[in-house]
Symmetry: C2
Subunit: 196 residues, 2 copies
Amino acid sequence: MTDERLEQQLAFALEIDKEKNVFRQTSLSGHGRKENDAEHAWHMAIMAYLLREYANEDVDIAKVMLMCLIHDIVEIDSGDTYAYDEENLKTQKAREDAAKERIFSMLPDDQKAEFTALFDEFEDCRTAESKYAHAMDNLQPLILNNANDGGDWKEHGVTSAVVRRRQEKTRRGSEALYEVTDRIIRENVAKKNLPE
Amino acid sequence: MTDERLEQQLAFALEIDKEKNVFRQTSLSGHGRKENDAEHAWHMAIMAYLLREYANEDVDIAKVMLMCLIHDIVEIDSGDTYAYDEENLKTQKAREDAAKERIFSMLPDDQKAEFTALFDEFEDCRTAESKYAHAMDNLQPLILNNANDGGDWKEHGVTSAVVRRRQEKTRRGSEALYEVTDRIIRENVAKKNLPE
């Protein structure tokens, strides 16, 4: 077996295993440990399928699911950048571009092009699929944080205004899910889990 | 917001977060910790997309990916049953049936029926999609174990005959990937990572 194409694909499959070691700032429900990027992506992809009836526009759900699954792969090199960490957000793009080039270059050329395009489409957030995938990227940690009485917000001193600004992307993907988001934020403000 | 359907869907989305706490017997590459079911499912779903050209039959890749993502959800209640644990394998079906009923009943009826059917299709392993998904269920831990010099096999005293028997399902989903599997098994026997 000396099929170079298959060897490249298997090397990539092994490389992405490292994403399970990239930990986020969101805690699992039940006041659990922090979750990692692979778990987050798995959760987003299932939620995308489950809630697809609420997308603002018709979406190719296979494309959305794959986008959710791979959207954080670059963090194997660049690490997770917390959504409310203003300093690290400034250098995020350059760090992620280098990571994208290294990791997707492990694939055969056609798949490198395909995965890179899908990653960029997510980042650009202009197509129906990417807007809906971003809604999942925001809603997934929100339901965990809500289940944990806002523990992650408290830990980082995040205010409702900051959470609302980030959740604006949810609205572009799903007005119906933005309503849920808005309700959850208001409830957490009322419960003092999230300062105004 | 008192939309019962959406509330059921969100409750299910929160419930499946628990799958991140179900740990398997497979170790992450780099001689890492044991992986959990959510990470395993995420890895399988990406590999399914990446390697779909090697499926024996044409597959609906969105269906395969979703099947991979949800195939272990019942283990939230029933726990992981190690593939080479003969004793626990005997009670696996009854434990998983009860779990399936409880967990999927959280969904609206139409989605309960859909997810249950997809789960059963995977278990039955007769359609093109389920056979290919099973190939991923076998190949994913194999590449991790291979990267770790057979550490998990050594820990459990598993022989090459037992690994080969399990990997027969890979062949039904993909002859090409079975060739890889066979090569990896032979290499590990030669390296004394796996007794004959």
